[in-house]
């Protein structure tokens, strides 16, 4: 595993879409929750001074965070979990299976000056049906950027996995979704 993209298809914006660090942490944490993170995690300093690479030898997982200086270091799963969780500042007590909340807020930060995410969520039919994210905000340092208010539903989909839907459209069909999302504000600006 390497870094995670938010989406892979062209979104109509100039430039190349980059991998998204916070999504990488979420995936890494999900892997840890699934018990798929290696029993040891090796943290190594990269050649770039402000970047640290985390690798798990057993699963090949690669993680990166910024503004952390480090020397090669081996840590166990518990420490790895804290390391992963530390940039992901979960608001409130961490829920555990059997103590699921029907709604809550999730906040993630890369660092005090870096990008942060804050979102609320509703759990409809916890454990069975649909998970809804609302008010998906993206803020970056002193220049907060708020995406259009919207919600995303994660519903059981094909192949036994969840599929993301936005406004009733399958988000997996990212081209149609992103084209409308990006171009609608442009069309309004042209009026």
């Amino acid at each position: 595993m390497a870094l995670v993209y938010r989406y892979r298809l062209h979104d109509g914006l100039e430039g190349e879409e980059g991998t998204f660090l916070i999504c990488t942490f979420w995936l890494a944490q999900a892997l840890a929750e699934a018990g798929q993170l290696g029993s040891t995690m090796q943290m190594t300093a990269s050649t770039r001074p402000s970047t640290t690479i985390y690798t798990t030898p057993t699963s090949g997982t690669l993680l990166r965070t910024c503004n952390v200086q480090g020397v090669p270091l081996a840590i166990n799963v518990a420490a790895a979990d804290r390391l992963i969780s530390s940039p992901l500042l979960l608001s409130g007590p961490r829920p555990s299976c059997g103590q699921r909340r029907s709604a809550g807020t999730h906040e993630a930060k890369e660092d005090e000056k870096g990008a942060s995410w804050k979102m609320s969520y509703d759990m409809l039919e916890p454990g069975q049906g649909t998970f809804v994210l609302r008010r998906w905000l993206y803020m970056s340092g002193a220049d907060p950027f708020k995406r259009p208010d919207r919600s995303m539903e994660l519903r059981p989909g094909p192949a036994g996995r969840f599929a993301a839907f936005t406004e009733g459209e399958n988000h997996d069909d990212a081209r149609a979704h992103s084209q409308r999302w990006v171009r609608q504000p442009q069309a309004e600006a042209a009026r």
Binding site: M1, A2, R8, T55, M123, L133, P156
Partner: protein
């Protein structure tokens, strides 16, 4: 997000299948290079 906020346990087959789909379709195959001294 599903296992992180406690919607389903990370070991649930649907969560694992979702993780696998993200791993297969949304990750950068180039990865990150290791430091030359460790490569």
């Amino acid at each position: 997000m599903l296992p992180i906020v406690g919607f389903l346990p990370g070991t649930d087959p649907r969560v694992r299948a979702t993780i696998d789909a993200i791993d297969a379709g949304l990750t950068d195959s180039r990865g990150l290079g290791l430091p030359l001294s460790l490569a």
